[in-house]
């Protein structure tokens, strides 16, 4: 009965004429259609690619016909990655959510003939950047940030553009979502004369750098101005910005007006033995997503600089100071507000960090590397010596750093202790004292795999989450997977520890990567102890996010 229904259903979708079983092409087939995820309309001329997840078979590609249909036939049983793409749409794999998708599993017991690939149409945000007098501003940098649907507190940069001679910009290729648009620009006519006087007792011991500043005595105070970083809606912070919703393929208009405000000046005291211009970057946010603000540096007196042309706002400043051959980037967050002079003294204490790395019996430290990172700067790395000791050649300023152990074979952190700093989990709070670290790692991972069961049936496309519990929270991340066509999931390289495994349906439209959202499902999840070197295989019952409970 089940098989007859299957064949009848296939008949209407296959583009090849149905043939009696004896004349069917050898092997299995995958067929289906590509549709617009918003309208549901067929997408012809889309490219559909089928990539086997095993050796011995070739990747194939087909263009969909007038009704968006496609067929791959003569296939060997196994797992495949199926992806569709077309100009004007975001590429999409089978049951894709964020960066997770399901493999199509081909074989006797699987129905792979009704596959629907839903392509989200690409939207556009466009508009004009204008000055307060209505004049177009050219060469303004416009950035679009997309709110992470799986974790709405976070945004990522999705596109950028520069405004042209009419002030017009256009950011395309945007998937559906909630966006924020911000502009960084400088008034083209801005000129920034020095305003910070030399002190009566200038510092000695530092060379005067022979560089010609653009020291204009401005006839017109209107010229010492800057534009604040401005979001659509006029706000100067992302939190107050007006969101722009793109549901699928439309063009949204976002005009932004920039009003000049008096530019600020910052006094910078450099360490006495540094030469040359201060190597400073000012960004609107962490270096990964912040736009850079140009800074004009004028020497006031030996070792003292004036940074001019800065709009008020909140910035991440990265100073690269090379002292006696040691590089030490220092990161500060600077609030440039109504006070016109801000003292930044990078000569305040820097500390050294060193330590030892240990593992289980037989662990060889050679080839391992310790990395300390902080938002906004390039991570610091140092190699571990054969005796397990390591020492960073940089000096560190105060702040909280995240420690990661890398190397030629994967290891995970099992313990971190420190003297001179506060260690918790993999975080290290550095103060004013030199730091000695003791780092312990393990190379014995675990595998957690199995099937996601919805109403007792193995089901594809389910969100599977492995949530660390207790002490494991400090050293291991939350792991995600999506069940494949046969309902299976697999998590490899799991750090040993205590976890709760859960599977959730209808979670993909919610904040599924946010730990607070996941907390409600923990009580009905399944406890798992991942043993070093062990494998756990289990069936996990799917909970329904809509009904807030497990399906029976």
């Amino acid at each position: 009965m089940f098989l007859l229904m299957l064949l009848a259903a296939s008949f209407s979708l296959l583009t090849e004429p149905w043939a009696p079983a004896a004349q069917q092409p050898a092997g299995f087939s995958i067929s289906g259609s590509v549709v617009n995820s918003v309208t549901g309309n067929a997408v012809p001329e889309a490219e559909v690619t089928l990539q086997p997840q095993f050796r011995g078979a070739e990747t194939q590609s087909i263009t969909t016909d007038g009704s968006g249909g496609f067929v791959f036939s003569g296939l060997t049983a196994g797992r495949y990655t199926l992806t569709a793409s077309r100009r004007g749409f975001m590429p999409q794999s089978f049951l894709q959510h964020g960066s997770y998708f399901s493999a199509v599993v081909v074989g006797e017991e699987f129905d792979t003939s009704h596959i629907v690939l839903r392509l989200p149409p690409q939207g556009v945000i466009s508009g004009h950047i204008l000055s307060e007098t209505g004049e177009p501003i050219r060469d303004a940098r416009v950035t679009a940030f997309l709110r992470d649907p799986s974790n709405p507190a976070e945004q990522s940069q999705r596109g950028a553009a520069e405004s042209d001679d009419e002030g017009s910009y256009r950011i395309g290729r945007l998937p559906p979502g909630t966006y924020f648009v911000c502009v960084t620009a400088q008034p083209w006519y801005a000129r920034h004369p020095p305003t910070i006087p030399p002190s009566d007792t200038p510092r000695v011991g530092s060379p005067i750098f022979h560089e010609r500043p653009t020291s204009l005595r401005s006839s017109d105070a209107r010229l010492d101005v800057a534009y604040q970083v401005t979001f659509f809606g006029g706000a100067t912070q992302m939190a107050d910005a007006q969101p722009i919703q793109i549901d699928g393929g439309e063009t949204e208009s976002a005009d932004i007006t920039l009003t000049p405000v008096p530019a600020r000046h910052i006094r910078l005291n450099m360490p006495t033995n540094t030469m040359g211009f201060p190597n400073i970057e000012l960004r609107t946010g962490p270096s990964s997503i912040g736009n850079q603000i140009p800074v004009q540096a004028l020497q006031v007196e030996p070792g003292v600089w004036e940074l001019a042309g800065i709009p008020p706002g909140h910035f991440t400043a990265t100073l690269h100071i090379a002292e006696q051959g040691k590089q030490s980037p220092q990161v500060r967050t600077i609030d440039v507000g109504d006070g016109s002079v801000v003292d930044v003294d990078p000569t305040q204490g820097s500390v050294s960090i060193k330590g030892t790395l240990r593992g289980e019996a037989g662990f060889r430290p050679l080839g391992s590397r310790i990395q300390l990172s902080m938002a906004g700067i390039e991570p610091f790395r140092t190699d571990v010596a054969p005796d397990g000791t390591f020492e960073f050649k940089e000096e560190f300023s105060q702040g909280t750093y995240t420690l990661v152990v890398g190397g030629t074979t994967p290891h995970y952190l099992t313990n971190l202790t420190a003297t001179g700093a506060k260690a918790s989990g993999r975080q290290l709070e550095v103060g004013t004292k030199d730091v000695q670290l003791s780092v312990t790692v393990s190379g014995s991972f675990s595998d957690v795999s199995g099937f996601a069961l919805l109403a007792g049936k193995r089901t594809p496309g389910m969100l599977v989450v492995l949530v660390p519990q207790g002490a494991t929270k400090d050293t291991a991340p939350i792991r995600f997977d999506q069940s494949d066509g046969d309902g299976s999931f697999a998590l490899h390289n799991v750090a040993a520890g205590n976890y709760v495994l859960l599977a959730v349906d209808h979670a993909w439209n919610l904040a599924w990567a946010n730990p607070d959202f996941l907390a409600q499902f923990i009580s009905k999840g399944q406890a798992v102890i991942a043993e070093a070197g062990g494998k756990s295989t289990l069936d996990i019952t799917v909970q329904d996010a809509n009904n807030g409970g497990p399906k029976r």
Binding site: S61, G88, D164, D165, G172, W188, H210, R212, S215, R217
Partner: protein, 543 residues
Amino acid sequence: MMSWHRDDRRQKYFFDDDLPFVRRDPALQDSSTETFKVTGTVIDSATKQPIAGALVELNEAATLVDDKGNFTLQDIPRITALVQVTKPGYFNQQQIEGMAGAAFQQPQMINIGPDMGPVTVELVLEGIISGQITSAEGEPLDEIPVVLSSSMVTEGVRTWQPRVGKRSDDEGRFRIANLTPGNYYLSAGPSNNGLLARTLTARRPQGYPLTYYPSGQDMAEATRIVITPGKHVELALSMIRQPLYEISGTVNGVSPGESVSIQVQGSANFGAGASVDPRTGAFHTALLPAGIYTIRATMHNGRTLGGADGAEMLTPRVEITLNADVSDVHLNLAPAQTISFNFRNDSTSGEERPFGIPVWPMLISAEQGKGRSLNQDIGMAAPPGKQKLLLRNIEPGRYEIEFHPNGAFYVASATFGNQDLLRDDLVITAEGNPPSIEVSVRDDGGTISAEVSTSREAPGITVFAVSQDFPKAIQRAFTSKDGVAVFSGVAPGHYKVFAIDNASDLEYRVPGALDSFLLRAADVSVQAKQQANVRIEVLHREN
């Protein structure tokens, strides 16, 4: 040495040093506090109408013009200075000359003083080229690279330079503003639709070849786009889809541990990549539209090109006309040719002082017809402490070679084996162990001082001095404000000297280009360490 002083009147501090384009009247250095007011108007060069919102800078002062284009600057000392005016969307004279690659000419300075009148400054309005790129079926094509090129005459050679590059947006549109007046050519593509490797078993992949506006694939078919101040040209460009192909083959001579890379170069500065198996040397390029490409491989041990001790292996450039898959291309690595220049100071001054590199050679490929300096492609390295210059990675071929004197030295002789480089081209063969280029320099040159009389005051006239002994050597100098051009440190001998107005785009390296001027030139003889003076009239050149 910088110093600073306090200005009590304004409670401000500024640095006292020579700003560019400022000359103080020596008779009044620092002792005069007399200041003046400078007024003026900024107008459009074509319409002569005032321009609002421009920025005027002079000395250390700056101001915006009002909505009638008028400006006033106070407290300017008695100096000779340049009034710099800027506004987005407009060009001032220095910007136009800079973009055209014109040789440095004296900027127009004004004398600040009690007798000066109001100043008028002209700005040239930008040109704009915009358009849309569609497929033959009318569908907009996005992410197609668009390049605008214009020709420039540099050192007497006309070269095509790409000036601006953009990509079409999701509607196939592009817009290029900020264009100085001139002739431009537009090319679009090529594009392989982002297909990098052959993974498809379905029909042959397709893409768009390089297309010159309006529609040809050959630069000879390109239509020039004329931009005058304020002109906006709107274009429609249709691109025809064509099959894509790949070039594959083997790089012979790879060694383990060394990195091999392949450069594929198409027209209009298009570059593509190729993947190479470092163990076997087998390579295949990205999918490319039909066209003419050159391909070469390089292998180096990680040290930078041009470093004094870097060792590099190259293959000759192979030209491929791609209109089908091309396989079995062999690129044979061979050690890069290094040729050294040995400089010998045969001066009579008697002092044995180190002088670094006395003349800088410039190589122009005579074969590729591009006429551009190859100095950047060929790594030049000057080992410290030696009067030597090494040219690395130089391919066999014929080159024009010029020596640019630095004023103190002239080249008395330059030989490469039995080639006389002052009279002939430099010919490099593939044979190993090439000799050095022996260059003898002397510092006992003479000076030619040419006073150019002309009915109108026009600084910036080009004066040519062509050596009769070595006709390849064509020297140029520019008249200063007082109408005199000086050639210093020239080889003693006989010269023909003449002056031309309107010479910035004269392709004087084309044989015969200067013939009509040479007929009317003055004959000048120069002795060692002597100055020869000559007075000449300006010869007029039609555009």
